[in-house]
């Protein structure tokens, strides 16, 4: 039993109090900050952010299911979060409290009619890894090592009620306007519900890994439909190191570039050719295998890109959009960055900001190669993100700007940029 969390906050009420506690504590940290500041003017905002991140992390790490997923999502969007939160949240991607073994057996009996002992040669009684809405056990069968992902019962049911709780608190905690949050959460909710359907994940995993099979230097696990069901997913176990661990082994710059290039090509192919993309580029989903390949797992979150959105969105990344004579305004209207309800002053204001952001974020697309190890580039992104999120006009804006479909695409690119930055990789971005 050791190591398994014994008291899981369960009901909605308990979860709510858990969140309220965080809210209160965050408030407390601000008070602490300002009272300290009266004596010590040097105290930086970083210290404050650290305190807050810790409290928020402590609370969220005791939750599982969709609340944890929201934490993950927010930790991905680095420009929403101050730097201090990120490492903490990144940790939430690796650990959640496990389920008891009898419940694992029960789930197998219910969905496959057999115990794990009957299906596998060996099966670990304790989870070796936690996914956000389930846990992973290691098993062997016919000489193969397998990863068996099992979903927590009742997750699908609890998503909507969880998000209702997260909504107001997230709005305050992460300074997102209500309108923006609505759009965000609506899309997240539908994606989360999809993620609880392991049969769908199985289908997509097999489809995408099949179509990407020709990409060099990438390894996908084989999936086992006959051992999987709505709540159980069985695939090959991929041996290897997570990116952080791999970097700790001091790989050469060439090796880092190579891994970075594979990552970029994998996403490039999905987005431009398949028009559906593995939209969960968090570090836990990638491994560097012993033979130096890039292993990719977890196709729970796949975003299909509608054709008309694709056209508009990638126009933004083209070279010519930044020419002074290009009609960016119309494109912004199409993408919902600008609205008819805006006053002339607002239009001018947003046009400026979005042009700046597009120049910045699209920069890798406008050159042949791009050095993602360039920290000044990322500092610039954070600086702009930070400045924009502090603008009165934006914080008070009731209009949500941007396109629903953009959320996951942006998230994918943020995740990808961050991974490449972590790798310090130099990548050929246009072929």
């Amino acid at each position: 039993m050791k190591g398994e969390q014994t008291s899981i906050p369960t009901s909605k009420v308990q979860r709510a109090t858990r969140f309220l506690k965080t809210g209160a504590k965050v408030g407390g940290n601000y008070i602490k900050h300002y009272s300290k500041k009266m004596f010590d003017a040097e105290l930086s905002r970083d210290q404050l952010d650290n305190d807050n991140a810790e409290d928020i992390y402590d609370s969220l790490s005791e939750l599982k299911g969709s609340a944890l997923k929201v934490a993950q999502m927010l930790s991905m969007d680095k420009n929403v979060l101050p730097t201090a939160y990120q490492d903490k949240f990144a940790m939430s991607q690796y650990s959640a409290p496990p389920l008891s073994y009898p419940l694992v057996v029960q789930t197998f009996r219910k969905y496959l009619g057999k115990s794990p002992e009957d299906l596998f040669d060996t099966f670990t009684k304790e989870a070796v890894n936690a996914a956000s809405i389930g846990q992973v056990h290691k098993a062997t069968r016919d000489g193969k090592t397998l990863a068996v992902k099992i979903q927590y019962p009742g997750v699908a049911d609890s998503i909507s009620s969880d998000l209702k709780i997260v909504r107001p608190i997230a709005a305050r905690m992460f300074k997102i306007s209500t309108a923006e949050l609505e759009q965000y959460i609506g899309e997240v909710e539908s994606k989360l519900i999809e993620e609880t359907d392991y049969s769908l994940e199985l289908k997509r995993s097999m489809e995408i890994t099949g179509l990407c099979g020709h990409l060099e230097g990438i390894e996908f696990p084989t999936y086992y439909p006959e051992l999987s069901s709505d709540r159980i997913l069985v695939m090959d176990w991929i041996n290897g190191l997570h990116i952080k661990e791999w970097l700790a082994t001091n790989p050469s710059q060439e090796q880092k570039n190579e891994i970075g290039q594979r990552l970029w090509d994998f996403y490039d192919f999905q987005i431009h050719t398949l028009k559906q993309v593995h939209a969960d580029p968090h570090p836990g989903n990638f491994m560097i295998t012993d033979s130096g390949k890039l292993g990719i797992i977890d196709f729970g979150c796949v975003k299909e890109i509608p054709e008309d959105f694709y056209e508009q969105y990638f126009k933004l990344m083209k070279d010519d959009v930044l020419n002074p004579d290009y009609n960016l305004k119309d494109l912004f209207f199409e993408l919902g960055f600008l609205s008819d309800k805006d006053t002339e002053k607002e239009k001018a204001f947003y046009l400026d900001i979005f042009t700046e952001m597009i120049e910045l974020l699209g920069r890798p697309f406008r050159s042949k190669t791009f050095d993602f190890g360039d920290d000044t580039y990322f500092k610039q992104i954070f600086e702009v993100g930070d400045r924009v999120s502090k603008m009165k006009e934006i914080r008070n804006s009731k209009t949500a700007r941007g396109n629903r479909h953009g959320l996951y695409i942006n998230r994918t690119y943020f995740g990808l940029y961050n991974l490449l930055n972590e790798l310090k990789a130099k990548v050929i971005t246009s072929h």
Binding site: I8, S100, L103, T107
Partner: protein, 221 residues
Amino acid sequence: MEKAAKKKTTKRSLSAAAIMKAYKKHLLTEGSQPASVFVFMEQLNEEEEEFYKYFSSFEAIDAELWKSFAERTIKAIKTDKAYDGYGAREKMLAFLFTLVEVLRKDRSYVKLTFKRPDKPELVPAWLKDFKKAFDNFSMEVIEEGIGSEEIIKRPILSERYHDGLWLQILFIISFWLRDTSKGFERTDAAIEKSANLSFELMGRGPLDLLFDFGKFLYQNK
């Protein structure tokens, strides 16, 4: 002579199992018990006294059916390969999960007969044998838990642990009967959480430390 004996055995074909089956069928199709044992046996073309060879009343059949739920559950978990390796908490969890599986096959019957007792200390006649079987099981588990120190022996209280587990099982059955989620997933969660709670309460907790500390202060004042 031989022929007569044979005739006698075919006449005695109505077994306890057949009566139970016929009774259950009547209950499920009519939604209530037969008006009397007489009416019930007449429908089966049998003498009333045949019934009393096995059962004293319809309630006795219910008791027998419920007892069989518990027995089937215990038999199923004990044949599971993983069971011997379980600790006390896992054994109880396995029992509860399997019980719900067993009951699922007879959900309509359970729904018709199961009424949570108004006063928890009173156990209705039809549930007595089920309780006895469960108590035997839970006391065995508690004993083992005490041995492995998963459960703490406390004066007076530890004699009553199995009563707490009994209330828990009543809660779970009624939760399951009200559960509308797909595949009764919420019941799985309820079992996991309530069993974790009860084992947490039976294990060493802050109250024990508080009590211990109080005793220490008292002895040393």
